[in-house]
Symmetry: C2
Subunit: 300 residues, 2 copies
């Protein structure tokens, strides 16, 4: 049995998983890591206390795989940096956690874990090259090339959410400090904000999709615009990578019947002729389990 964890700023999802990708038990723990005051030692302590408890309950856990919101150096388990935890630099997270819990630990970027999960167990299965996009609070990306996770030189590859899709006079601001990024148009947060701006109604992306299904023209407009921006960004990635399989996970994919045609239409309009019609954009079949299954795959 493997213990997999998907670490977020305020939540940690953990699961006990077989080496075949069957989730035996899943739990969600509230834990505050988003606090800029949390030190390296406190982070290690909080995580290892949580893992220790689960290991004690399940005697048969042989290793831990973790998806973490940060940039890692290759597959070393060394956290180079984390945009949400700027106080952490060049920390051997895998090594320190392994020393604390006394079993092997492997750790990788959370979006890359989702890509690994989707490639091994989900809609990307059987494709040796895969670009996986996660639509959540932000937008992440993970790349599999020739059946191998691609990290880039500094562990920062596939910052897909920060591809710039709008550079007109008034592009929307993005959390990265830039503007016009696809994340500012198509993340769950952006969809919610844009709907509020248009309608004055504060609600989440999932509800906005339901409103769109019922014919709410403002909701339809926001979701189609998100698809349009995603299609543009996928076109840019495809022109560079010539990858033919794209998978997308996350809450916004609830709107797939509206989102997918908008993505495909914009993708087709933005590709060079020899690439047109070659790229499949698939909805994740694992959705929010992709990250956990990918984290498990790091150690199985």
């Amino acid at each position: 049995m493997i213990l997999a964890a998907d670490v977020g700023g305020t939540n940690i999802r953990s699961a006990v998983i077989t080496s075949h990708g069957e989730i035996v038990q899943e739990l969600r723990s509230r834990i505050s890591l988003g606090d800029r005051d949390v030190s390296e030692n406190e982070l290690i302590e909080k995580l290892s206390a949580l893992f220790d408890e689960i290991i004690r309950k399940h005697g048969s856990i042989s290793a831990i795989g973790i998806g973490f919101p940060g940039f890692f150096s290759g597959s070393s388990g060394i956290l180079v940096s984390s945009p949400n935890l700027p106080q952490l630099h060049n920390v051997n997270l895998a090594g320190k956690l392994s020393a604390a819990v006394n079993i092997p630990v492997s750790i990788q970027n959370d979006a890359l874990c989702a890509a690994i999960g989707e490639h091994r167990f989900g809609a990307g299965k059987g494709h040796s090259n895969l670009l996986h996009i996660t639509l959540g609070t932000g937008i992440g990306g993970g790349l599999i090339l020739n059946n191998t996770p691609y990290t880039g030189e500094g562990g920062m590859a596939m910052e897909f959410g920060h591809l710039r899709v709008v550079n007109s006079d008034s592009p929307r601001s993005c959390g990265c400090g830039g503007s016009g990024c696809v994340e500012a148009y198509a993340s769950a947060t952006a969809v919610s904000e844009r709907y509020f701006e248009l309608s004055g109604i504060q609600t989440d992306a999932r509800d906005i999709y339901e409103r769109a299904c019922k014919g709410d023209s403002q909701a339809i407009r926001i979701i189609e615009s998100a698809g349009h921006c995603l299609g543009m960004a996928i076109a840019e990635a495809t022109k560079l990578l010539d990858i033919h399989t794209i998978t997308i996970s996350g809450g916004v994919t609830g709107a797939w019947p509206l989102l997918h045609p908008a993505i495909i239409s914009s993708l087709d309009a933005n590709l060079i002729p020899p690439l047109k019609g070659r790229v499949s954009v698939l909805r994740s079949t694992l959705d929010d389990s992709a990250g956990l299954l990918g984290a498990a795959a790091l150690v199985s």
Copy 2:
């Protein structure tokens, strides 16, 4: 000795090259391949006649490496398609040429050959990951990942020239059928066209740089704008690939003292914070020999 060739629409540059990358002899032949009427057999005949002549003169040639303007399936030597020779589809160019000249032939996309040459012998030497950009009539790109040329699933990777950098109300049209592509702003052709639009003077990119050096404000504006657009496109590629070494070749790099600061300033403005300052943009040290040396490297 190796015979290397860089095939263009109207010109073929060939060279006899040692396995250490020393060019022993170089020649340029006028040959019309850009004609849409040229058949597959005529293409093979024209090329093999030229190669045969060179092989007869130099008894010691053991293999031929060719850079060709088209998309190749992996390293198979099979031309999938060529935007400039649309009548050619799935042609085993390497196999047919090899049968005709009776020595081994290897063939690959021309921009990828330039990347291979720059990586093996030029400014990219010693870097295991490299993005090479060619600024000519169009803009091409070639990618080396982990010391291996990257072709993509259909041989169409690194269509860098068609990254979209302008999507305002009136983006410039591009030869690909789209608009706002970096090629429409920063290729030698675009620099020349844009200078003509601004000044009414018809001249080439090299002369425009010389004018810029003498203080011609219109020439300075066009070259700085080309650098700005290149920086934007490099930022997009870097956000996806997290590659830290970029090399650029081609006539427009004559304007390096003006072009490089414009590229760096725009790159820095468009990168996400953790990538800022990590990316080096280097001028090719091989310039128009990169493609020939890379073609030679295919067979040595």
